[in-house]
Symmetry: C2
C-alpha cells in the first residue's frame, strides 16, 4: 500500500513549526508494513490544497492529510476537499452533539464557528476524535482513500492509532508484518554492522535488519513478513536471540524503552538509590534521569559542581587534587563520586567532569574529553571518553556514556 502524507498550513512553510507529525506517521506506517512514498506540505489556500491533493493522489493509493480543520477562517481543508471531490457539505448531527457535550463539561460557551465545524463532505465517514473537537474523516474517491485529521499531534496520534491504522489494515490487507527492536548503547553503527554482515546475508526472504542510530546509541530493528504468522514470530525470536547472544554487553533493552528508564528499573530491582555529581553535563544527566515518571523511587538528587569551590565545599574534593591533576581528571571524578555517596543519602553515584566546549580546551585536555566515575562507596570505576566539538552534542554524548557505565556497574551488583 503506497501512502502520501499531506500537511496543510502556512506554519510549516514559514518554518514556525517543525513537521514532527509526518515523521511520527512515517514511523507508524513503516512499522505497519505500509510505504510512505512522499510527504507534501502546502499553505492555507484553496489552490494550494487542491494542488497538494492532486499530487498526493498521483503518487499514493491513500492520502493521509493533517491540518486545517480548526474553527478559524484559515482552516479550509474540508471546503477544499468537498470542492475537489465535487461533493456537498452536510451537517453532522452526532458530531454537533459530541462537541456540545465537550463544551458543557469545560463550562465554556460554544460559538457559531464551532457549529460550522460540524459540516462535513457528504461522502465522509466520521472518525470520532476523543481528544478534541474536530473529527477525522475517511473518504473514498476515484478508487483511492483520502483521510483528513487535525494537525494537533496528540489528536492526530489518537486518530491514527484508534481509527486510521486499523481501517487501513482492513482495507488493504497485506501480509502479516512484525518487528523486534533491540536497543544498544556504547558502540558505533559501523562496528555493529561489521559484526552482523553474515547475519544480514543469512536473513530469509522477507526479513530485513535496520540500524537506527541516536547519539551514543543504536537501535537494531528486525522486520519480517510472511503468510504464516506463527512461523514469522518464531523466526523473529530466533534472529533476535542471535543478536542478543552476540551483543549481550551493549544491549540495554527492547522495544521503546529508554536508557534512563532501563537504568531506573535496575536500580529499583536492586533497591538502590542514585545520585549524580556533575560538572560538564551541568544537570543534563539529572534531567534525563528525572524525565522518567516515578524516578523519585530511586533518584535522590544531585550536586551540580560546576565551580571548583562546589566540588570542594559540597563534595569534599581535595584542593591538592584539583591543583595537581585539574578539574578534568581521573582523580577528581573519583573524589566527586565517592564524596557524593558519602554526602548524599544514596547508594551509587555517577560523577563526570569534562570539557563540553566550545572554549576551555587545551592540547592535553581538548574539547570533547570527559572523565567518568561510578562508585558505591566501596568500589569506584573510572572511564575517559572523547567526543566532538559541539557543546550540545557533547553534553548528550557524555550523559549517555555515563548512564551506560552506571548500567555496567549495576549489572555486577
Amino acid at each position: 500500500m503506497k501512502i502520501s502524507l499531506l500537511t496543510v498550513g502556512d506554519e510549516i512553510l514559514i518554518g514556525q513549526v517543525v513537521d514532527t507529525n509526518s515523521a511520527w506517521m512515517g514511523q507508524q506506517l513503516n512499522l505497519a508494513g505500509a510505504r510512505v512514498v512522499t510527504v507534501i506540505s502546502v499553505g492555507d489556500t484553496m489552490e494550494a490544497i487542491h494542488t497538494g491533493i492532486r499530487e498526493a493522489l498521483d503518487q499514493g493509493d491513500v492520502v493521509l492529510m493533517t491540518g486545517g480543520l480548526g474553527p478559524t477562517k484559515d482552516d479550509i481543508t474540508k471546503k477544499a476537499l468537498s470542492e475537489y471531490m465535487g461533493v456537498d457539505m452536510v451537517f453532522h448531527q452526532a458530531t454537533f452533539e459530541r462537541i456540545t457535550k465537550m463544551f458543557e463539561v469545560w463550562g465554556r460557551p460554544m460559538n457559531e464557528a464551532h457549529r460550522l465545524q460540524c459540516f462535513m463532505p457528504a461522502n465522509a465517514e466520521i472518525l470520532t476524535n476523543k481528544m478534541g473537537t474536530a473529527p477525522g474523516m475517511w473518504m473514498e474517491y476515484a478508487g483511492k482513500v483520502i483521510v483528513s485529521m487535525p494537525g494537533v499531534p496528540y489528536e492526530m496520534q489518537y486518530l491514527m492509532e484508534n481509527e486510521v491504522l486499523p481501517k487501513l489494515k482492513k482495507s488493504f490487507p497485506g501480509q502479516p508484518i512484525a518487528h523486534r527492536t533491540i536497543l544498544t548503547v556504547g558502540e558505533g553503527e559501523s562496528h555493529i554492522a561489521e559484526k552482523l554482515e553474515d547475519f544480514e546475508e543469512e536473513l530469509p526472504e522477507g526479513f530485513k535488519l535496520a540500524y537506527l542510530p541516536q547519539i551514543g546509541q543504536v537501535r537494531l530493528r528486525i522486520t519480517g513478513t510472511g503468510t504464516d504468522e506463527a512461523a514469522l514470530h518464531q523466526i523473529l525470536d530466533e534472529k533476535a536471540a542471535i543478536i542478543k547472544a552476540r551483543f549481550a554487553d551493549i544491549i540495554y533493552g527492547y522495544g521503546t524503552e529508554t536508557l534512563e528508564g532501563a537504568v531506573g528499573k535496575m536500580l529499583k530491582e536492586r533497591g538502590l538509590k542514585l545520585t549524580t555529581a556533575e560538572s560538564c553535563t551541568g544537570g543534563y544527566m539529572a534531567h534525563r534521569i528525572t524525565s522518567v515518571a516515578g524516578s523519585s523511587d530511586y533518584f535522590v538528587g544531585s550536586v551540580i559542581a560546576y565551580a571548583n569551590e562546589v566540588k570542594m565545599q559540597i563534595l569534599g574534593v581535595k584542593p591538592e587534587t584539583l591543583d595537581t591533576h585539574g578539574a578534568v581528571s581521573e582523580q577528581t571524578v573519583i573524589e566527586m563520586a565517592e564524596g557524593a555517596v558519602r554526602v548524599l543519602p544514596a547508594d551509587v553515584a555517577i560523577a563526570i567532569s569534562g570539557i563540553a566546549g566550545p572554549g576551555g580546551g587545551s592540547d592535553t585536555k581538548p574539547v570533547g574529553l570527559a572523565w567518568i566515575a561510578v562508585s558505591n562507596g566501596q568500589t569506584t570505576k573510572t572511564f575517559s571518553i572523547r567526543a566532538g566539538k559541539d557543546r550540545d552534542k557533547n553534553i548528550q554524548y557524555f550523559t549517555v556514556h555515563a548512564l551506560n557505565q552506571l548500567r555496567q556497574f549495576l549489572k555486577q551488583l
Copy 2:
C-alpha cells in the same frame, strides 16, 4: 519569488529523521522576503526524484533541494538531475582538488566513491561547501533555478547563508525587507494580542506583526517592506519602541537571544554568581543555564534536591517545615533558596518545588502546581504557578517561569 523545497531521502519517509532542514530554510527564506509555497519529500529512487523535481518546478520559480549527494550508492540526486535536465555529467577538477586536500588534512585515504562525487551536471555552477566534501550546485533550467545542497544540516546552513541566499537576492531582487524581533516571557499570546489590536490596525501598508509562541514565551516580529530602506528602518524602530514601552516588564531581549543567555548577561554585568535548588525540575534549570557557552563565569552549580533528605541534609530545610507545609509549599522553597545561598558559593539562588506529574497530585496540590523562590540571602521573593498535566511540558514551563522571576529580581539589584 516563490520557492519549493525538495528533500530527497528514504529516512524522512520512514520517519527515521525529522525534517528540521525545511523548517530552518523556511524561516530564513521568510525573513529574506521569499515565499515557500510547498515542501516535498521523496525517496531515493530515480522515478521519485524526477516526480519531486517536476512537482517542485510546477509550483515554484526556484527549487531548493537537499539530500542524496553523499558518496554511497543510494545517493543519486545528481544523476537524477542530469537526466531530468537532459545534460551530461562532467568531472569538476577544482572540487576534486579541494576534496583531495581535505583528505590530506584529515590523514584519511580517499577512495573511488569520493572521486565519483566530483562529477556534476554540465550546467551546474559549483557552490563551494567549506563544511564538507559534497559541493552545492546552482542550475538554471527552463527559465527557473534549481539548487542542490547536501542534507547534513550544518553543510546546508553554510551553503544557504554564504552562497544561496546572496545569489537568490541578486537573481530575484525584491523590495528591501527588514525585521525587529522582540522577545517576551511570562504572558500568553492572546493577552499580548489583545493589547496590540490598535497597534496592528495602525501598521502602515507593507508592515505586519507576527506572534511566535514557545513554552512560556512569545516572540513578536515586526516585518516591513518598502523601496526606501532608511524610511523602512526608521518605521521599524518607531514601531518597536511602541511595543518596548507597552511591554517593558515582559521583554527580556531582542533578535535571537535566549532567556537563559539574557539572564546570564545580567548576572555577569552585576558580578553575581548563581545557584539553583531544584526539586521538580530535576536539573533541567541547571541544564538550560549551562547550555550557554561561558556560563561558568556566573553559574557555580546546583543542588538537585529531589528527595526530602537532600532538602534537609544539604540545603538545611527544617523537618518541621516539610512536616507542616509539605515539600511543595512556599515555606519549603524559601528555606531551599536561602539554604542554597548560604551553603553554596553564590550570591543569588532560585529554588523550585512542584508536581510535574503524571502522578503525585492531590486536590489541594494538583499536578502542574509549583512554588518558586528567588533569594540573595537578604531578600527572598516567592511565586506560585499552575501549569498543565504533561510532565515534559511542565518541567519546561516551570523552568521558564523561574528564570523569568530571577530576571525580575535581578532588575531590582
